[in-house]
């Protein structure tokens, strides 16, 4: 799968990403780092124990990474969760928001792992 198709599947914009980062190599390099980032795992750990500050930090970081990598869907869902967790005790049940994050996260990881071995798709 080439990078364009990858972005289509992750619900992100290839064109916008290329405008910002300019080089396909760079984008692919950092996409491949994304599955190793621990924010999602930290988020998944923090929520059941109701460690709200840790969950907020993890969601916030995930949102930042998703924004940097142009993962629009994940950025959207993690942003909603971040806002729900801001300021400690969440006003609404975070579980459905987390589900949305999980779905977008897994879609992104799946698409990245299906990227062509050779960097870029020219």
């Amino acid at each position: 799968m080439d990078l364009k198709e990858c972005y289509r599947r992750m619900g992100g914009s290839y064109d916008e990403m290329m405008r910002r980062m300019r080089q396909e190599e760079r984008v692919v390099k950092f996409l491949r780092l994304f599955p190793k980032d621990e924010s999602f795992a930290l988020l998944t750990q923090a929520l059941p124990g109701e460690d709200w500050p840790a969950a907020f930090r993890a969601a916030h970081t995930l949102k930042g990474v998703a924004l940097n990598l142009g993962l629009a869907d994940l950025a959207g869902s993690s942003s909603a969760l971040t806002e729900a967790l801001r300021g400690g005790e969440p006003a609404q049940d975070p579980a459905p928001l987390y589900e949305a994050v999980r779905r977008d996260y897994e879609a992104a990881v799946a698409a990245i792992s299906a990227l062509d071995g050779a960097a870029g798709g020219n």
């Binding site: 405008r19 910002r20 980062m21 300019r22 950092f30 994304f34 930090r57 924004l67």
Partner: protein
């Protein structure tokens, strides 16, 4: 200096502070072609890097949300340390809310970048920020240079004038220098002990400089009276007394020019007219009492008496400093403000040193730096480019010493409450990083309850004059217990503060403990 700066300019250093590795890697990738990159994975980590390398860092890119010390806390700390005046910070966050952005600018960041950022924006904003600060530094140096030049020539004019008077007195000009030095030390001490006088570094410099003119009125006194080796008759003494009023009149007739000069004339006038007044009202020419006498004149009066006693005069030998102190405290030279007498006693040791030093030096570099830095920062001392250069040289020296010794050196920073070990020292001790925050618990764990109490007890006995401590201690380290000889020197603030500022130390391994 220009060439020295160029060397460090070649490739400037940027510190990236972010707890997320991917974010750091992305910024590194964008900036690495143009900059030397340092990374810190937490606020605390960043404090370690900044403490040991702040003079060499041109820019900090700072994430907001981090576990432990977050970006805002780190910013406040950088503010308190005075680092922000020479090191710009750009904040980077996924959070573009007005609330965050306002807070960041309030705390002194230069710029704020929101995620998602693009490569060009990051590169250009980093470049702009660094250029802006570099220009500011160059200009700061130019202003410092000019102020120093102006101060120096002012000082020379005053010195020439007061020497004219001294030569007529048959004295060598030493008296004027001594009175300056004593006035300076007394005022520094007074500033610390008695904030009610509201003395600033600028005022102290002004009074000290004006003190040189205290006797200019003597230009009008007949040489026969001025240099009479025997006791003056009552009539002669009455004539002698007029030098106070004559001096004050000379200054009153000096045309005012506006600005800082008028303040100088004003202080010099007060000193000339009232440096023979006494706290109990029994001085001359006006019989002023207590705080009616301006503090500048009170201080110069005491300095004048102290130097007159410790110097040789046509009518008397020089008394040793101890004897002079005794005579002043015993009221043999009239009554002085009890607060000033306390200051005099406190700085007795320093006076001895300063008078030796000031016998043949003109305005010291320290003095000039003190004034210029105050002028530059409106009351707060900051590190100027010059000071940074000096600091850089010091670092380079200590790195060289460290590289050529088996001993482990460290510094304790009181503000940050942490110990920073020399390059290699941390490795030798098996510590994960060079900066070790010193919680009460860490201290107990490393030293043990009793030795710690012993060390703290000895530290509390250290003073400015007796700053060193030695001993043998066993340290519990990650690799096991080891015995060391510990040499400590306590550091004390500059003369304005004089309070405990930190510790430098050396550990010499003595074998397994």
């Amino acid at each position: 200096m220009a060439t020295k700066e160029k060397k460090t300019v070649d490739k400037r250093t940027v510190l990236i502070v972010d707890d997320t590795e991917l974010n750091r890697a992305l910024l590194r990738d964008i900036l690495e072609p143009d900059y030397e990159i340092l990374e810190a994975a937490s606020g605390l980590d960043a404090v370690g890097v900044l403490t040991s390398r702040w003079a060499g860092i041109s820019l900090v890119l700072l994430d907001v949300v981090m576990p432990g010390m977050d970006g805002f806390e780190l910013l406040s700390l950088m503010n308190r340390q005075g680092w922000l005046s020479s090191m710009p910070v750009i904040m980077i966050s996924a959070d573009g809310s007005a609330d965050y952005i306002d807070r960041a600018f309030d705390l002194g960041v230069t710029d704020y970048i929101t995620r998602p950022f693009d490569e060009q924006t990051v590169r250009r904003r980093c470049q702009n920020t660094i250029n802006l600060y570099a220009k500011q530094k160059v200009m700061e140096n130019m202003v410092t240079e000019q102020i120093m030049e102006k101060e120096r020539s002012n000082f020379q004019m005053v010195e020439i004038l007061s020497n004219v008077v001294e030569f007529r007195n048959g004295e060598s000009g030493l008296h004027v220098r001594h009175v300056r030095a004593i006035t300076d030390v007394l005022l520094q001490t007074l500033r610390r002990r008695c904030p009610q006088y509201g003395l600033t570094a600028t005022q102290i410099a002004l009074i000290t400089n004006a003190s040189a003119l205290h006797d200019i009125g003597k230009i009008s006194i007949d040489e026969k009276i001025l240099n009479k080796p025997s006791r003056l008759t009552p009539e002669e003494f009455e004539i002698m007394k007029t030098h106070t009023i004559t001096g004050a009149q000379m200054l009153e007739q000096t045309p005012q020019q506006g600005g800082g000069n008028d303040a100088f004339l004003h202080v010099a006038h007060d000193i000339c007219r009232w440096h023979h007044e006494r706290y109990d009202g029994r001085g001359y020419p006006d019989g002023l009492k207590g705080e009616e006498i301006p503090i500048a004149a009170q201080v110069v009066a005491l300095a004048d008496v102290y130097d007159a006693l410790t110097a040789t005069r046509v009518y008397k030998p020089a008394y040793p400093p101890e004897k002079a102190m005794e005579m002043i405290l015993g009221g043999e030279c009239g009554t002085f403000n009890p607060l000033l007498l306390e200051c005099l006693q406190e700085c007795a040791q320093r006076l001895k040193r300063e008078l030796d030093l000031n016998s043949n030096s003109s305005m010291s570099a320290m003095e000039i730096r003190r004034v210029t830095s105050e002028l530059l920062s409106h009351g707060e001392l900051t590190a100027s480019g010059r000071a940074l250069n000096l600091l850089e040289q010091e670092r380079s020296k200590s790195q060289f010493y460290n590289a050529h010794t088996q001993d482990i050196f460290f510094e304790y920073d009181k503000e940050l409450h942490q110990v920073v070990f020399s390059d290699g020292g941390a490795k030798e001790l098996g510590l994960p990083s060079a900066a070790v925050p010193l919680s009460d618990q860490t201290q107990r764990e490393i030293l043990g309850e009793e030795p710690l109490a012993d060390l703290l007890q000895r530290l509390s006995g250290a003073t400015y004059l007796d700053p060193d401590i030695q001993g043998e201690y066993t340290l519990a380290l990650p690799g096991g217990s080891r015995k060391f000889r510990l040499d400590l020197r306590t550091l004390w603030g500059s003369e304005e503060h004089g309070s405990f500022a930190g510790i430098v130390g050396k550990l010499t391994p003595l074998g397994e403990g």
